[in-house]
């Protein structure tokens, strides 16, 4: 039926009909885009909408004397390792393997971090000894105040290599 109507009618009517059809299509696309935008904003992690302040993520790990020089101490609760250099410098390393997110384990015998998932290995400062890990272990800034060791869990930092400014020294 509708087919017959389309063929009759003047040129003017045909143009108008095409225009209205196009208008519907455009409106449909806009409606679809709006709907998708709504779904995406619904899926957006709500945690990220209000960024936590540093005060919430700053944790006291322990006092400076608890970590002897040359030691590697795990902190399972905060998911990190406290490494103390021979010269007394502190380095906090995330225990999440940068390859696929497993928790690395400190191997005291070989003095290295091993990843149980894909056998990546890292040295004491978190530098890759054997792949597949694509980059060193992430580190967290260490703050020392009144003999207490504090770590900001909110600022896990990626790095390409070890640099001495990643270390913190007790005054």
């Amino acid at each position: 039926m509708s087919g017959r109507i389309e063929h009759t009618g003047s040129e003017h009517q045909r143009v108008r009909r095409n225009f209205l059809k196009r208008l519907w299509q455009i409106l449909g696309i806009i409606a679809l885009a709006e709907f998708l935008w709504f779904i995406l904003s619904l899926l957006k992690p709500s945690k990220e909408n209000h960024k936590s302040r540093p005060a919430d993520t700053l944790r006291v790990i322990g006092s400076v004397e608890e970590f002897p020089a040359g030691s590697v101490t795990p902190d399972r609760v905060n998911r990190l390792y406290i490494v103390r250099e021979e010269d007394g410098g502190f380095l906090a390393l995330s225990l999440t393997c940068p390859h696929l997110g497993c928790s690395v384990l400190w191997n005291e015998e070989c003095r290295q971090f091993d990843c149980p998932c894909h056998s990546s290995a890292f040295d004491r400062r978190g530098i890759v000894l054997s792949s597949p890990a694509p980059r060193p272990l992430d580190y967290l800034p260490v703050i020392i105040e009144e003999g207490k060791l504090k770590v900001d869990l909110g600022s896990i930092t990626r790095r390409k290599r070890f640099e001495s400014n990643q270390l913190t020294y007790a005054l």
Binding site: E48, H99, L100, H118, P134
Partner: protein
Amino acid sequence: MTEHYATEKSEKSHFGLILHLHPRKVRESTFRFTLTFGLGGMAAILLVIQVITGLLLKFHYEPSPESAYNSILNMQESLLFGKMLRNIHHWSAIAFVWIAFLHMLRVAFTGAYRPPRDVTWITGLALLLLLVLSNFTGYLLPWDQLSYWAVTVATSLLSYIPLAGEPIRRVLLGGAEVGQPTLTNFFNLHTGVIPLLIIALMAWHFWRIRHAGGVIVAEKDKESPMVDTRPHLINREFIVAMALLGVIFFISSLLDAPLRDRANPAFSPNPAKAQWYFMGLQELLIHFHPLFAVFILPVTVLAAAVWMPYMKSTDRNQGIWFLSPVGIRSAKMAAATGIIMTIIFISVSELLPDPEALLPKAPSLLTTGLVPFILAAGTMWLFLKYLRKLYSLKRFEMIQSIVVLMVVSYTVLTVTGILFRGEGMNLVWPWNM
């Protein structure tokens, strides 16, 4: 006469839905069990099993990190047939992926993906992906060490996809790591979104099969007579369904679905393995840079699979396993080569020193990405060229050889990952694990 008509009518209404899904008559030659092995029908039955057991499990499961694990323990210990229910859901899920995959191979190896079956093939691929996704989201729900770390590893794979990877991972996890938002997302995907999509796509899949005139028929069987769907096809489907149910119930009463300790984010179990169907991918990750293993390779394979039906050829062989006698020989050759080459590849990459340690200055994208990729792809290309010449293969026989090579290689990788990877993902014999 009228009486006969009346009984027929009432019987018909009993079978109304089943007959609605089928044509009135089907070609007798398609009943040969070795043509299809009833795989598509089995997949449909497994969907029904999964929906029923899944809905029942939902009455007792609590989707929160605090109570999920205990709700499963509780269900297994105190609910009548609670353990059996979970076992059936678990083993059927595994059977579902297996059977859908074998169904896809059957379609590929009988040449049943070419037009007019192209849309059936593509909806089938989408269904297989949804099935894996359904399996994957369901895996997290018990919230034990196995599920927590498998999902951590598998979602970390996403972050290697350029640009879109990290945002997708964040949306899926609902944050930076696996936690309560992840469980909420996965629970909703597993018990709502994905099943609805599967049912809708399955209806489309079925309709396209009827549109194409049913199961593929070989040239020589075109004269085979048409027979009534009821009872000939319905009875056969019933037997397959009962046999399948029997096997599932038997396995579920003997073997329990795994449940380890409650999830502990601080300790990865050693070795931490992904879900079994991702083990081939995880094995690939040991040898390749993640960008290649989780992005370039899978996307290439998927694109090739979608494009497969639209290759131009004068080749009309279909409805016969492996298309032709030459097709059988080349498929065997491709399978043998795939097994041997993959084993050699794994051994060589194990024995050679780590390229990163050897060349610490070279970017890892080159040493563990492009170079091994070109080596592997080059060897494959040379072999296929040789194969084509040896048997003077036609285009679809050639595609078939590539599919065989890929599937066999991935199977070897999967078996290696599951059976031969022990502590620290080092190669060990299965009896030393």
